[in-house]
Symmetry: C2
Subunit: 209 residues, 2 copies
């Protein structure tokens, strides 16, 4: 595998002016990614669009990948904020209701700037950010696992890690695919939510005797 480029910021922006520069650069990167894709997003173009010189760009970002990493980071933070809130909300709710809420939130989360989300999903491997995303996934798992733990005696399965894996992966895949590749499904989002909820809660709970 290719050695991955640096993605750490080069230096901290301390004054207000430079913080604005950094913001403009990240924002410009996001826009260009959405409009033209990763390959056409040259550092010169990014600097141009941000209204910043190429030299300034390299004051704060050691490489193009670092810029994209910053975009990914910002986007992920937005998503995780949503997810974390949802998971605390559902903490005391029964399984079916909780799952339904989670699925709805997953759809919302994928819809946050979904065009950017799509590009990022496709480009993350190239930026060597897989492990960061993995970390977030793990956080998602862990939080969800925590919930399962609290409902342990209502569950059919004993292996909570496995259960969390199966549920999280399925929910993520279904909502991701629907939002990004089957937009028509969202005209009747309720149905999708309903079915996914059935899938998951049917799996978690013992079948009613």
């Amino acid at each position: 595998m290719a050695r991955r480029p640096l993605t750490k910021p080069r230096k901290q922006a301390s004054q207000a002016r430079s913080r604005a520069t950094v913001d403009a650069l990240v924002e410009a990167t996001a826009r260009i990614l959405v409009h033209d894709g990763f390959d056409k997003a040259s550092t010169n173009r990014i600097a141009d669009m941000a209204g910043v010189s190429i030299g300034s760009l390299y004051q704060y970002f050691p490489s193009k990948e670092a810029l994209v990493a910053a975009v990914i980071d910002r986007h992920n933070r937005q998503i995780m904020r949503r997810v974390r809130t949802a998971l605390t909300e559902i903490a005391s709710q029964p399984i079916e209701r909780a799952v339904r809420r989670l699925v709805a939130v997953a759809i919302e989360a994928h819809r946050i700037d979904s065009r950017l989300h799509r590009v990022l999903t496709e480009q993350i491997p190239r930026v060597g950010q897989l492990e960061n995303v993995e970390a977030l996934n793990r956080e998602g798992y862990a939080l969800f696992r925590g919930y399962l733990e609290s409902r342990r005696d209502e569950l059919r399965i004993r292996n909570l890690d496995l259960a969390a894996f199966v549920c999280a992966t399925s929910i993520e895949a279904l909502t991701h695919t629907a939002v990004l590749y089957h937009t028509e499904m969202l005209r009747d989002a309720e149905t999708l939510i309903e079915e996914t909820t059935r899938l998951i809660s049917g799996y978690l709970q013992p079948s009613p005797v």
Copy 2:
């Protein structure tokens, strides 16, 4: 979005010698993709590794993308052969057995040259091959939908399209993620198969009264 490059072969190789050249090029592309990733796979390097001049490469492939497309194509054909066979095998089997077999095959399929599979999964968007892969997915759906149709009265759900979407997407995601990112799970592949089967057949079948 960026205009995608040509991916159609430039001319057909008719003599044995040139067919060997084409094969060598595709093979070299696959190797370089696995070892160094898409970005480091320059056409010059590919030609080098194939033991072929850069000129010859461009006799048969109009662009780097066309080479990668050829690799994707070859790989997809292998996978679809496996999947099609499985789907005819299970045609007459009851749901639970059929699903179990399908899941097992999905794991096998992802394991066919899994390192290449991973790189391709990551790079497909860049080569403009998404719609081809989508076509295969649709074929998978359609075949599976056909099976569901034949078992219609054993199913809880009436909307077969939706059912096929939910099942195919989940199975694909679970096996894909497990094979590529959680290899440790495969040491006990039976468990994974068992759980996925439960998830899916529990979803499809009406819960026993």
